[in-house]
Symmetry: C2
DNA sequence: GGTTGTCAAGTTGTAAGACAAGTTTACAAG
DNA sequence: CTTGTAAACTTGTCTTACAACTTGACAACC
């Protein structure tokens, strides 16, 4: 055995993974297609089955394939939440500061709300209103309140209709959630948030992008200040 | 053997990976610390060595550890480029449209250049000028020209001083590069870009954030139009 | 003919043992 | 104290084996 298919002798599994990834990414029409069995792949690449398994584990982690025991390996499209998970790890390892995240949030959402105001339909406005109404009935349940809050802002990104910006915003949620939760502890902050949301909804209904942008900027700037204060008092 | 440490019987390696990840992320001070050997881990979790190896492969893919043959496994901080790689895969698999990416770019860079104008030092301006000067001497070499172009914009993000926005912008580069390269094929586009860059540099030197924002928006909007035209003529 | 139950083949998940390749450590020689 | 070497340790790969699960075909039955 040990037939050499042009693969060097170090980091074998990495190289096999790279080859397979190239094959998969080269043609997006292959989604849901079945991969050859691990045995066949091992024979084809001239390596052992464990090496192929490691390569497939890497691809699985990258979201390019899914495996079912006894079923086989199938090509899939990566999940959008991967970016978010990546970001959370970066934050956990101290690579990103909370201030930067919040400032980035403001930049993103100001752009998003402008686009949302230009695109919003009556149905869109109704959904936002429903979320904001639900937030009014969460007295005490901070976790639920924060969840709905995030959902409100994520919904504006959906209305804006830009997938890229939606992914960016989503990638901040994991880091933002505890910060928003802390900011909500300040007296009046919860009601303030509701009011701002309502004003934003009204802007979207009128299609007033300029005003929506201004209100959102105020809303998030104040929210960031609240978080800073809450952080100080905790220490 | 087969001692049960509380881990179920399906997706063993996933569960081991999750446990190890929690241990690693729980304390950021453990960076560069050595993990127990695969044998010890296997014994500790009550699983076989291949299972531990798969778990470590997952962590390696997530950038949380590095392994050296004969040396051991060490905890590391994930690379910032991981987000970029993620995004490239999403784009490759057709999850993101090029239009969305370019619009997101404009949103990001408009915010970035404002912050950059407020922070820029004389040294920062000098570096930007150096990049732009280098771009003037790349006649014909489109690849080099695009590379410097991206570097110019990435440098503004560094000047802005927000790590989060810098990561976002960097994550677009892989998708943006071929688009910028296509746009540069139009007559006059290259010279136009240089002029816009120069105007932006001047704004930063004066600390004129409003003007910088306006010029950047013009620059990128025109660049996007050029790409759209170039794309049409190619087909 | 259509449906269903059963079985065999194929596939992934896990285990165990072995060796190769590289690193680290300890110790002895200088 | 330095240096060289050997032993122990660790990761990388291979092989074999079996368990768990899925798929597909085939036969029995309605």
């Amino acid at each position: 055995m040990n037939i050499d298919f042009g693969i060097g002798r170090s980091a074998l599994s990495e190289q096999v993974a790279q080859r397979l990834e190239k094959m998969i990414l080269s043609d997006a029409t292959q989604v849901s297609q079945k991969l050859p069995s691990e045995q066949v792949l091992a024979a084809g690449f001239g390596v052992s089955r464990p090496v192929v398994r490691e390569a497939l584990t890497i691809l699985k982690e990258r979201g390019l394939i899914t495996q079912r025991q006894g079923g086989g390996s199938y090509i899939t499209t990566p999940d959008l939440s991967q970016v978010s998970q990546c970001m959370n790890r970066l934050a956990m390892m101290g690579q990103i500061t909370s201030e930067d995240v919040y400032i980035a949030r403001i930049s993103l959402e100001v752009s998003i709300i402008r686009m949302a105001a230009e695109n919003a339909t009556a149905e869109d406005v109704r959904q936002l209103q429903a979320i904001n109404d639900a937030m009014k009935t969460t007295d005490g349940d901070v976790e639920r309140r924060v969840q709905l809050d995030m959902q409100f802002h994520q919904q504006t990104a959906q209305i804006a209709g830009n997938q890229m910006l939606a992914i960016f915003l989503d990638s901040l949620n994991g880091i933002l959630s505890p910060m928003v939760a802390a900011a909500l502890k300040l007296p009046g902050a919860a009601q303030d948030g509701l009011n701002y949301h309502q004003r934003i909804i009204d802007c979207l209904q009128r299609g007033d992008a300029d005003q929506a942008e201004e209100v959102m900027r105020q809303h998030l700037t104040l929210s960031m200040r609240n978080w800073e204060v809450a952080k100080e008092t905790e220490q």
